[in-house]
Amino acid sequence: MKTETTKHIYKFVLGARPPMNLTAAQKKLLDSSVPSIKAHELAARVAKTKVVICP
């Protein structure tokens, strides 16, 4: 038996803002998320490159 899954197609709009009228499920999704170890590792790699932040 075939199972069909629906894939979300992302639509990009420059200057758009995140949605603000959240459902309870969306609030829970945000509030239960934890910081990413992978993103921290990426930031740590960037820190080692010593790119100069110009004033």
Binding site: P18, L22, K27, L30, V51, V52
Partner: protein, 155 residues
């Protein structure tokens, strides 16, 4: 040597600004032109990764928002990440063998961590420009935000 510059004032003239980069198509150029106009209105800050010879490799445009009207779920928004056409897919030894895109994303996360120490920012939010990019963002733990066009990452 690479540096990160934040253009302002006359540096945000759309014509000369857009000439800093090479584009795959006119849509990309139009996006950059629109970004400059948003930056002129103080709606986004553009940060350019460049070198000491004046070559511009890419940019990230950032702004502030929230996932709710009470500003309890505040976020930095990545409005656009762009790599100049000739540097796409290239890994740079000076950038720890990262691509321009990876480095700009890392800089954003690093900045978010720093800002969070001063003001309560909770998330990084973005709209992926394509499904391929959405898959990349998921690899560094960005999560789709329900059935919307947004993704988020907890800081």
């Amino acid at each position: 040597m690479f540096g990160l510059i934040t253009p302002e004032g006359a540096e945000l003239s759309p014509g000369s600004f857009s000439k800093r980069f090479q584009y795959a198509n006119d849509n990309e150029r139009q996006y950059v032109m629109k970004l400059v106009k948003l930056a002129q209105k103080d709606k986004v800050r553009i940060h350019i990764l460049s070198d000491s010879a004046g070559n511009s490799y890419g940019l990230v445009a950032l702004s502030f928002s929230s996932f709710d009207k009470d500003f309890k779920r505040t976020s930095i928004v990545i409005d656009y990440i762009f790599t100049s056409l000739q540097y796409r897919g290239r890994h740079f030894a000076e950038l720890g063998e990262m691509t321009i895109f990876e480095h700009l994303l890392g800089i954003t996360y690093q900045s978010a961590i720093t800002i969070k120490k001063t003001i309560p920012i909770r998330f990084i939010a973005l709209q992926p420009a394509s499904d391929r990019l959405a898959e990349y963002y998921m690899r560094i733990d960005f999560k789709p935000f329900g059935n919307t066009d947004w993704m988020f990452l907890s800081i």
